[in-house]
Symmetry: C2
Subunit: 394 residues, 2 copies
């Protein structure tokens, strides 16, 4: 059992720069770190659960009720719930908006969890294509074609369409308004997967015309895992969050207060509290998104100076998640005794981590929240490594 | 936004004794508290996700893979997964073992989340009765009758039976072996809800003959919420944890490595790590269950000395969750200006918290993990309060 003692992370040391593509937006604030210890114990949020209305979203001490309202407002939606993961939020929305066998139309850069949620809900998937290499731009107008295809094939509309606001592969930002206009012509609800956007950049559901926003607290809200966000219009809340109707056949017990698809209460402890503690910071940080984009564009310009290196996806970059393709760095790996791992080793020597060990031809990184000096340091490290191995820096 | 700053709990101060019925088994160990800070950041478990087999249960650093194996062994099962809540574990088991409209046979003291999971899975419930006041003993032999009823009514067996090992209302312990023998005569799988047992008392699925164990890390494993445990026999693992088969119709992407009903990875951070960090302590503490029961029986004997006060449920107590009925303390409330709240006030004065404010006739408490001195202190406080208000102590 010794292995479970002193569980430590290497990568959260302050002297390291961590570029892990999924971790930059989930680094806790100081406030969240303090709250974590305060609310670490199981059911720590439940000290003051209101007796006759015992639901997580009604707790006022700590101010969970207020938080849910503020969170909905912040996202330009009517109702918000914190669930256990963004993927659970998708699953709940898919399940509650559909009948078995229905279609969900999704973008073809959706995260794998989108597909799994569709399968678990007993539904079918229809994908909206992208332009492929090197931009991988989604053909958003084709949501119309895909809705029509479903209609023709099944004589029924899709249960919902889902758009990934920024995808996990290339960090391309999509204009949700285009999709919501098309879907609403057919009265099909629009789910926006804002796992990579809400919490780090301004996202307003009303302005984007979407019906449901799902997001990830541990990805983009400076919160501990697992935390998902499910934000809804009033109309969607009625459909997606009904209270329970089941009654015990012998006991006659019923549970009419409980929100059925949430299975009642959700995140009953520490991670929810980190989300709340970081919220004031998150509200401020989304306003500085332009600064983040400047750094991202600077990074792209500089990394592309390395011989045979380019950034994939739509440019100029509208997100800090960056997919680098480097034929140059890859050529080095072929002659290096450590193969592709040399890049990881060289970066690690320079106290830079988070790029997947072994990769050199295609690798993803995220510079969200790094200072300009840190971004410069990272860029210089790449230039330095490239130069050592004889690549040109233009 | 000031309200989200300095989020504090009153009830985790070391000078207080917290009797909250759902919180005693979820108090973190020192090791878990340290691990919490180390792994607080979002996706903190994912630093060393194996590239070509990217699944939480395969991560070796921290030793999640080992932990899942050790956890299964500890519970006398073949496969274990940590999911987001015990209720999610139930939902997944119900959904994967059933066809729409099937029955689940449950005990009539099941937690509300059991019923919600049944409803969300599109299933029907059939309850096994209990004896009612004052023992509320489940009639376990009636699982047979209920299976037969379902068979007669639907020409089909129930999809599964669920037994709540110890119920949340009276803390009655049920002999799972009786139920598993009956269910297995019909080849119906048995799900044991061990939210109140596994992690604080010895629970061995093989010895109990059950097919699935679900449990709650934040309730009984000294872990942060939200953490659920889903432990399975090999046979059940095949049925309940299939990998994804969905394929993108345009992209042809598939996700054959991912466990579909889990939606891929589950608790990707701090709460899982607290469960792991507390695990060595949990292994030791379940061995001391007899000492806990002695304290519980002592508490019952002493509390029942108060005029017109009794403990409901089966006696002698086999669990530390105690449901007190006190006509005596209730009579006091009728004349007290603070009504039922006087009991809360008086206990609070004595630094005892966790009994629901306002209750005096029926209230639940849990003495799990209190020292004998603390239990004595609590008992004396009750005697003291009763005496102040003129009740006899026999």
């Amino acid at each position: 059992m010794y292995k479970y003692k002193y569980l430590k992370r290497e990568f959260n040391k302050s002297e390291l720069i961590n570029l892990n593509p999924i971790q930059r937006g989930g680094i806790l604030t100081k406030e969240a770190r303090e709250a974590l210890l305060e609310f670490g114990d199981g059911y720590s949020t439940c000290d003051w659960c209101p007796p006759k209305f015992d639901r997580l979203d009604r707790i006022e001490k700590p101010p969970i009720k207020d938080f849910y309202e503020d969170l909905a407002e912040f996202l330009g939606m009517d109702v918000a719930r914190v669930v256990t993961r963004c993927r659970e939020a998708m699953f709940i929305a898919f399940k509650m908006l559909s009948s078995p066998g229905d279609y969900i139309v999704v973008d073809s850069l959706s995260h794998y969890s989108t597909y799994l949620a569709i399968e678990f809900a007993g539904l079918k998937v229809k994908e909206v294509p992208h332009t492929g290499y090197p931009n991988f731009q989604l053909l958003l107008e084709m949501y119309r074609d895909k809705i029509e295809e479903v209609k023709k094939e099944t004589s029924k509309l899709p249960a919902a369409v889902l758009l990934t606001h920024v995808d996990y592969l290339y960090g391309n930002l999509n204009d949700a308004l285009i999709v919501s206009k098309i879907a609403h012509e057919y009265n099909v609800p629009v789910i926006l997967n804002a796992a990579y956007t809400a919490g780090i950049m301004p996202v307003n559901g009303k302005k984007l015309g979407v019906d449901v926003i799902v997001s990830s607290g541990h990805k983009s809200w400076a919160a501990s895992a697992p935390t998902g966000i499910l934000a809804l219009t009033e109309d969607m809340a009625e459909k997606i969050l009904p209270t329970a109707t089941i009654t015990g056949d012998w006991s006659k017990r019923s549970f009419k207060i409980k929100e059925m698809p949430l299975l009642g209460c959700t995140v009953m402890g520490a991670p929810l509290i980190t989300l709340m503690a970081s919220f004031p910071h998150v509200i401020r940080r989304v306003e500085k998104w332009d600064e983040e984009l400047e750094k991202a564009q600077y990074f792209v310009k500089e990394i592309e100076k390395i011989e045979e290196t380019r950034v994939l996806g739509v440019k100029p970059k509208k997100h800090t998640l960056i997919h680098v393709e480097s034929i140059g760095l890859h050529k080095v790996s072929k002659k290096h005794p450590r193969k592709g791992f040399y890049l990881y080793d060289e970066l690690k020597k320079r106290k830079i981590v988070g790029i997947q060990p072994g990769l050199s031809k295609h690798f993803k990184l995220n510079i969200y929240g790094l200072s300009l000096d840190e971004v410069r340091y990272v860029v210089n490290a790449f230039h330095d490594i490239a130069a050592i191995y004889g690549l040109k820096i233009y």
